[in-house]
């Protein structure tokens, strides 16, 4: 190896000799058919350490975690847990040895209640094997309170929850058992700062009790806030591992990308917003909205309008109602000034609207179908003639969009399930770009996408806006909204509580609005 950081790696190895690691991986390798997922991962985690694991999309983080919990078997390499050889054959083995994992893609049972999901591994039962529902609900309540999920009822089916809440339920479930090592694969990708803060409090608490935590994230600021040590994977190899105090933001980026990243897009991007209103809502109210007057807003041609707000403020519900994925309760939707009472997503799409959903696994992708089929799912008429699919055209379109979005994939005919999380996200985006809509609703568009690809996607979205595409963007990442948008509206408790023009953007102002509504609500 001749990369610039091999000296650092060496130093780190020397330092590691003095610690007794709880988890120790040496030269772990794994390939899936022709794809090399892990090409020599070496990693060592000390007891009570919070260990950051970072790398580009497809670098191999999730694969490594699947190996650690026994879902995937490595081709070669040695793993030791508390000094003993560790070769889990199934997730059961991992749990028995004190290793808990929260996966990047959720594994909740949608039709069971939140409480049942949390207790699924050890339901409290009486002598006759009947579930003690009361105990279960009380236990689940306190587990949720501990991570600050006060606003959901434990008897709700998981189906009812948005992805941020699902993520927190997953975490609560993992915390039910005492473990020695807790692995969190991109737990913050869907969380707003409020939930992230709570999660970090919990992690700090675990650390003080001697539990080791492996934490995966694409947000470097989070890595610097919470981690003791950070390891970088690049193309399946460990390229860098150091105590957090001995590294810097730039150094990590360079290690991940293998080169200097281009400067982020200029923050004073020129707004391309026109005067023409392409979409407006008047007293628009969706089924869950508690306010009679609903929401009113105008979206202009070429404009990028952001919607900020805390988890549960009603952002996703609003987008779903605009797209008629759920029928709105009342109010008017105008498209180019004309009433547009869509009854189904089909009609919304015919009116030139696209909607990228937040939950790629449940609503976005068909995992066991080819990437190309997913990319063209919403634009089949443009890759077919008299109902016959032109697979050449379809593959060409996939390759084109794949290149635009820096998709890392084996080929258009591989299943979507073979992609890494961030790359799956890009396919969902590609599906809507392929359709060429005039209005695009984006819900967490870059969830799980790495820093480099994010910059590319922002630039792409900008270019589309310049050509007249109007976008409504919901994101829990304020920096994302602030880089991308011409205007930001802040939602709280299903109401728009503030609006900021680009010149006035600041995290502080946005958060003030977001929490303001919250406090008013709490005061009732």
């Amino acid at each position: 190896m001749t990369h610039p950081d091999s000296g650092a790696l060496h130093q780190a190895a020397a330092a590691e000799a003095t610690r007794v690691p709880i988890l120790d991986l040496h030269d772990v390798r794994k390939r899936f058919g022709g794809t090399v997922a892990l090409n020599g991962v070496t990693l060592s985690v000390a007891p009570g350490e919070v260990h950051g694991l970072i790398g580009e999309n497809g670098a191999g983080k999730s694969t490594l975690i699947k190996i650690l919990c026994g879902i995937v078997k490595p081709d070669s390499g040695a793993i030791r847990l508390s000094g003993e050889a560790y070769e889990p054959q199934a997730p059961r083995d991992a749990k028995a040895r004190g290793l808990q994992v929260v996966h990047q893609e959720f594994n909740l049972l949608p039709f069971l209640s939140v409480a049942e999901n949390i207790f699924i591994e050890h339901l409290p039962r009486n002598l006759f094997g009947v579930v003690k529902r009361k105990d279960m609900n009380v236990g689940a309540r306190s587990a949720l309170d501990a991570i600050g999920l006060k606003d959901i009822d434990v008897s709700w089916p998981v189906e009812r929850l948005g992805i941020a809440h699902r993520q927190l339920v997953e975490v609560a479930r993992a915390l039910m058992t005492d473990s020695r090592v807790l692995i969190l694969d991109e737990p913050t990708a869907t969380l707003t700062s409020r939930e992230t803060d709570r999660l970090f409090t919990i992690i700090n608490d675990l650390r003080s009790r001697g539990v080791s935590v492996i934490f995966v994230s694409h947000h470097l600021d989070e890595i610097f806030r919470i981690c003791d040590r950070v390891t970088v994977l690049r193309n399946g190899e460990t390229v860098f591992s150091r105590p957090i105090g001995e590294t810097s933001h730039d150094q990590l980026v360079r290690a991940m990308v293998g080169q200097q990243l281009q400067k982020e897009m200029a923050s004073e991007a020129i707004s391309s917003a026109g005067k023409e209103t392409v979409l407006s809502l008047v007293n628009f109210r969706h089924a869950q909205s508690p306010h009679v007057d609903g929401i009113s807003l105008d979206l202009h041609k070429g404009e990028i309008l952001g919607i900020a707000g805390l988890v549960g403020s009603g952002r996703t519900e609003l987008l779903r109602a605009i797209f008629a994925a759920e029928q709105p309760l009342s109010g008017t939707r105008l498209r180019n000034g004309k009433p547009a009472p869509f009854r189904s997503p089909r009609e919304a799409i015919q009116a030139g609207i696209g909607f990228m959903t937040e939950d790629r696994k449940e609503e976005g992708l068909i995992m066991t179908m080819p990437i190309a089929a997913n990319v063209t799912l919403a634009s089949l008429s443009s890759v077919s003639r008299v109902g016959l699919i032109d697979s050449k055209l379809e593959n060409a379109m996939t390759e084109q969009l794949g290149a635009d979005l820096k998709l890392k994939y084996g080929g258009p005919s591989r299943h979507a399930a073979t992609l890494s999380g961030g790359n799956q996200q890009k396919v969902v985006l590609a599906k809507w770009l392929a359709r060429n809509p005039q209005v695009l609703l984006l819900d967490e568009p870059t969830r799980g996408v790495d820093v480099g690809a994010k910059a590319e996607i922002y630039a792409l979205i900008r270019r589309l806006a310049e050509k007249g595409l109007a976008l409504l963007v919901v994101s829990s990442e304020l920096p994302e909204l602030m880089t991308l948008c011409d205007r930001i509206m802040v939602m709280s408790q299903h109401r728009i509580v503030g609006e900021l023009a680009r010149a006035d953007f600041s995290e502080e102002k946005i958060l003030t609005y977001a929490y303001q509504g919250e406090r008013r609500h709490a005061g009732h």
């Binding site: 995937v72 078997k73 797209f323 994925a325 189904s344 997503p345 089909r346 919304a348 799409i349 015919q350 909607f355 959903t357 449940e362 609503e363 976005g364 992708l365 068909i366 995992m367 066991t368 179908m369 080819p370 190309a372 089929a373 799912l377 919403a378 089949l380 008429s381 077919s384 109902g387 016959l388 699919i389 697979s391 080929g411 258009p412 005919s413 591989r414 299943h415 399930a417 599906k431």
Partner: protein, 320 residues
């Protein structure tokens, strides 16, 4: 989509090899298995189940099931049989109208199956269980529980017509397999059926009408029942309200042995063809082998379970 079809081809190849092994086994262990006469015999026996199983493949691919095909077969047959025995028509007129009647009856029943389950969001298991009774009752009602026979002799002759030792009715079934294969693997329609079987919500949010595709799948299954009914009448020269009992289970078995997943979204009609052949070869071979009908039934049951186990196992390997 080379990769996807490649995987499917491999899956089908496995089933094909199983079929070949069976054929080799019976050829070596029994005297009469590989005679031209017996082969055309097997092909004739397979035909009806194969036609029904093609339709069943469409339904199972979208995650549904159709329990009513056996009863629908009887209903289609008695309606068509009634038309066929109207004395004033010429043979051509009679057969043409009877075919339309069989198709129309099948399409109507299939449409109802699909529409009722899609519109009210009911499991197709329940709706088609209802249709199973409705169609059987209707068949008995229409005929007053009597059997219809004495069809035109030329119609009956067509049922036992051979081309180079292959029954014409089997060739019709093969042509239907080819059409179904084309529709499922080359068209937007087929693509969306697979999509619905895998992730309905993603397909809906991509702007497609779930209702249309679900109703279409059941309607296609109904149309195929109509065709199967005509073939049945041509071969056996009767139309009785009590035919086809349990046929739905054989059709489902062919689809499942052919590697189509009962939860939808995965499988091919080529697999279904092979599955129907395996059932037919087993039934015929085991008789020649000297096993009783009872033993035969038990072995078919074992094969169904084995097929599903193998499929589960294969799925796990490809998923890793």
């Amino acid at each position: 989509m080379p990769g996807m079809s490649m995987k499917l081809v491999l899956r089908d190849a496995g089933i094909g090899i199983a079929l070949l092994l069976l054929i080799v086994f019976f050829s070596l262990s029994t005297e009469h298995f590989l005679t031209p006469n017996n082969i055309s015999n097997i092909l004739t026996q397979i035909t009806i189940n194969l036609i029904l199983a093609i339709g069943m493949t469409f339904v199972i691919l979208i995650g549904g099931i159709d329990l009513s095909v056996g009863s629908m077969l009887a209903f289609c047959a008695v309606v068509a049989g009634t038309v066929l025995t109207i004395p004033d028509f010429s043979v051509f007129q009679a057969v043409g109208l009877a075919t339309l009647a069989a198709l129309g009856t099948g399409v109507a029943c299939g449409f109802l199956n699909g529409w009722i389950s899609a519109f009210w969001g009911l499991p197709s298991f329940i709706v088609t269980l209802g249709m199973l009774n409705i169609a059987r009752g209707a068949a008995l009602q229409v005929t007053d529980a009597r059997t219809i026979y004495s069809f035109p002799p030329s119609f009956n002759a067509f049922g036992s017509q051979m081309v180079f030792g292959v029954p014409v009715v089997f060739l019709i079934a093969l042509a239907l397999v080819a059409v179904a294969w084309f529709v499922l693997s080359k068209t937007v329609f087929g693509r969306l059926l697979y999509g619905i079987g895998n992730n309905e919500e993603a397909v809906r949010l991509a702007g497609h009408s779930l209702m249309f595709y679900k109703v279409a799948a059941f309607t296609i299954a109904g149309a195929l029942v109509g065709i199967a009914a005509m073939v049945y009448m041509a071969r056996l020269n009767i139309a009785s309200p009590i035919i086809g009992i349990g046929f739905e289970l054989n059709a489902i078995a062919a689809v499942i042995i052919g590697g189509t997943s009962l939860s939808g979204g995965r499988g091919t009609v080529i697999g279904t063809l092979l599955g129907a052949c395996i059932i037919g070869v087993l039934a015929n071979g085991l008789i020649l082998f000297g096993l009783s009908d009872f033993m035969r039934q038990m072995i078919t049951g074992v094969v169904i379970i084995l097929a599903v186990i193998i499929d589960k196992y294969r799925e796990r390997i490809t998923a890793a």
